[in-house]
């Protein structure tokens, strides 16, 4: 194992010392993050968030407890909500949904009619050991609207953290109201660094995939270095493991540098050690590294690898939603968004971190990158020959 690690460290050193690799893989992502943060200065400073919330409540013990909690959160200088409580749901719901669509409010929380009775009934059934569906609380949010989705996550968080036993037991269902809307530039109630930081992390892995693996491996092949290595008694599997470890070193260094900058200079609230962040980052590494191996498999020379990586680079990067949301792009190029693994990685990681809700279900944000990974790896196994490189 030590010999494998040693070989990996030399592959890593060779990339870290190469000025071109050093700039594009280590320095450029930092410059990009700084530039983006300078371009959007008004969005960069984290601001105190106050959401406009309408609570459609009912009379009854359980409803009043929920109402009290939201009222408490709507008081004082550092209030979370600007709350408006309405009682007559039938009369007010449609009107409030219209207001939501026009962005007059961020979220509607509806305690449906009969909620208290359903609660009592459910608790009784539960006590008798009978399994029944819990009563639901309806939350109406705007898809693709950062403020609305942030409000949704906050309310979800509030409900989860309520120390009331009945909420803990019954849980809640959430219904969503779809509406076409632009995401950025309408409000300033979110932190841009929290949005861009996971995007830059995906970007550095993407750059390593294309240039640090695809181009680098093609160069190793073209220059005969790979052939020179394969003429030794080194087993193919050990070469691959060493090479992958060297790329992991590189990616770990890149992510560490970006994370330090994001955390200590730009004050992101995203925790890079949180399980969702680590999980999606690993999925990103898996998927985009495979893309690099795929590139090395289809490229005979560094010139062709360079050309292909440039062709892939811009569409995948800019139509993957790394720097701005892409849900509103015209249908003519929408397909590029939908087949792009970066779209799902960026949406998934931001959703998992509670930054912005993904327009795609969680399983899709994992499945699509995995399908890409499997395709790229199978193609590489079939096409990339180490022996006669």
């Amino acid at each position: 194992m030590m010999r494998t690690i040693k070989l990996a460290s030399y592959f890593f050193k060779s990339s870290a010392r190469d000025r071109s690799d050093f700039f594009w893989l280590l320095v450029f992502p930092i410059i990009l993050l700084v530039i983006l943060m300078l371009i959007f200065p008004s969005l960069y400073e984290p601001k105190e968030v106050t959401f406009n919330l309408t609570l459609l409540s009912q009379d009854g013990m359980f409803s009043e407890i929920i109402e009290k909690v939201f009222r408490k959160l709507s008081e004082g200088e550092h209030r979370v909500f600007r709350l408006s409580v309405l009682k007559n749901i039938d009369k007010n719901l449609d009107h409030e949904i219209e207001r939501l669509k026009k962005k007059g409010i961020d979220l509607i929380v509806e305690i449906p009619e009969g909620f208290d009775a359903q609660m009592l009934n459910w608790i009784m059934l539960n006590n008798l050991g009978i399994t029944a569906s819990p009563p639901s609380i309806n939350i109406y949010s705007l898809k693709h609207n950062i403020s609305s989705e942030s409000a949704y996550l906050t309310v979800k968080n509030v409900l989860q953290k309520l120390e009331l036993e009945f909420i803990k037991r019954v849980g809640y269902d959430i219904k969503e109201v779809e509406s076409e809307t632009e995401l950025i530039g309408t409000r300033s109630t979110f932190s841009y660094i929290d949005f861009i930081y996971p995007g830059i992390v995906i970007f550095v892995v993407f750059m390593t995939g294309l240039f640090g693996i695809g181009l680098h491996l093609t160069w190793l092949k073209e220059s005969g270095i790979l052939k020179r290595i394969m003429v030794t008694s080194l087993p193919k599997s050990r070469f691959i493991v060493s090479y992958v470890i060297s790329r992991i070193y590189l990616i770990a260094l890149q992510i560490t540098l970006i994370s330090l900058l994001a955390k200590f200079v730009f004050k992101t609230t995203v925790n890079p050690l949180s399980p969702p962040f680590i999980g999606y980052t690993l999925l990103t590494v898996l998927c985009l590294s495979s893309l690099g191996f795929f590139l090395a498999s289809i490229s005979k020379t560094t010139s062709s690898a360079n050309a292909i990586s440039q062709i892939l680079n811009f569409p995948l990067q800019f139509l993957g939603g790394l720097y701005f949301p892409v849900s509103g792009v015209p249908w003519a190029i929408r397909w590029l968004v939908l087949i792009n693994p970066i779209t799902y990685l960026a949406s998934g990681i931001r959703d998992a971190l509670g930054i912005i809700k993904s327009p795609y279900p969680l399983y899709i944000t994992i499945t699509v990158p995995l399908v890409w990974t499997i395709f790229c790896l199978l193609f590489t196994i079939k096409r990339f020959k180490l022996e006669e490189a």
Binding site: K6, K13, S223, R228, V231, T232, L234, E387
Partner: protein, 308 residues
């Protein structure tokens, strides 16, 4: 009885209609320098890349250290060291790091300091590969081939592109390795290199071995002691007269170079002067020299090694 470390029988490698290696057979004695000599495209590199395990033969037998194998695998690779025809190294690693990187591949290896001393690169140990001269780089490549202390070294055109001094330095290293008991399998298209270094030479052309033997016996096979090389515009009448005088003339019309083989320099020169006067030939240059392996190739194929 000779101790053969490597035997190859009827080795074949075809690429469609191209017969890159077409039934090659040879035996390599332990501790000798064995050379495949031939022009570019003769099949030398394909032959040794099959033995190095880089290519899979279409047919043939390889007996490696007494064991018949269909393909050279990792077990055999432990005992071989390789210098490929065109080897690039990672430019941003130092000489020492490069040796250490290759050392880490093998379970058994030489001390890096010893290898550096052997290839005379101690003072360049911490220099980046990109900063080495061609000769220093080639010495390092031989050092890398030596790092696992192999029994057989495969060196594919190790001196191509080097200046005469660097070439001679490389020869010194190879002769020192031979002295240490290493078996060296060399490919080259430099007849002087083959002549000076080799114990046994196989001359290859169009994927086949056309003649083999030790360099001196190959040269003696020409059966002439001297060659007279003349720069002249010859015609068929002259060539016919020279042939009838048993001088085996070979004429390269492109370079206007006429080569005559003789055991009697004086009478051949007299004949040449007479023919020159009678036919008003303009002789521009005359060189009298000993025959070499290039002349052997020329007499076998009618072509020069350097023409290819």
């Amino acid at each position: 009885m000779a101790n053969f470390i490597l035997e190859v029988e009827n080795l074949k490698k075809y690429y469609g209609p191209v017969k890159a290696v077409d039934g090659v057979s040879f035996k390599v004695k332990q501790g000798s320098i064995f050379t495949l000599l031939g022009p570019n495209g003769a099949g030398k590199t394909t032959t040794i890349e099959i033995i190095e395990g880089l290519r899979i033969p279409d047919d043939g037998k390889i007996i490696f250290m007494g064991e018949e194998i269909s393909k050279v695998g990792n077990k055999q690779k432990e005992y071989i060291g390789v210098s490929l025809q065109e080897t690039n190294l990672i430019p941003y690693l130092t000489v020492r790091e490069t040796l250490d990187m290759f050392k880490s591949i093998f379970p058994r290896s030489l001390d890096i300091g010893d290898v550096l001393r052997m290839i005379s690169l101690e003072d360049k140990a911490n220099a980046y590969i990109k900063d080495l001269s061609g000769g220093q780089r080639q010495r390092l490549i031989i050092g890398l081939a030596m790092i696992n202390d192999p029994l057989i070294l495969f060196l594919d055109e190790p001196t191509t592109g080097l200046d005469p001094q660097a070439r001679r330095n490389t020869w010194d290293i190879l002769l020192e390795l031979k002295r240490k008991g290493k078996t060296i399998i060399l490919t080259t298209h430099y007849m002087e290199e083959a002549e000076i270094l080799s114990d046994w030479v196989c001359i290859m052309d169009h994927g086949k071995i056309i003649k083999e033997g030790d360099p001196q016996s190959l040269i003696r096979s020409l059966e002439k002691e001297s060659l007279i090389e003349i720069e002249v515009e010859a015609n068929s009448v002259i060539l016919e007269k020279l042939s009838s005088a048993d001088l085996d003339p070979v004429y390269d019309s492109k370079h206007k170079r006429l080569i005559l083989k003789t055991n009697d320099i004086l009478s051949t020169t007299e004949l040449l002067l007479r023919l020159s006067k009678e036919n008003s030939l303009q002789i521009k240059d005359v060189v009298i020299r000993q025959p070499n392996l290039e002349d052997v190739f020329l007499s076998l194929t009618g072509r020069s090694l350097r023409e290819e």
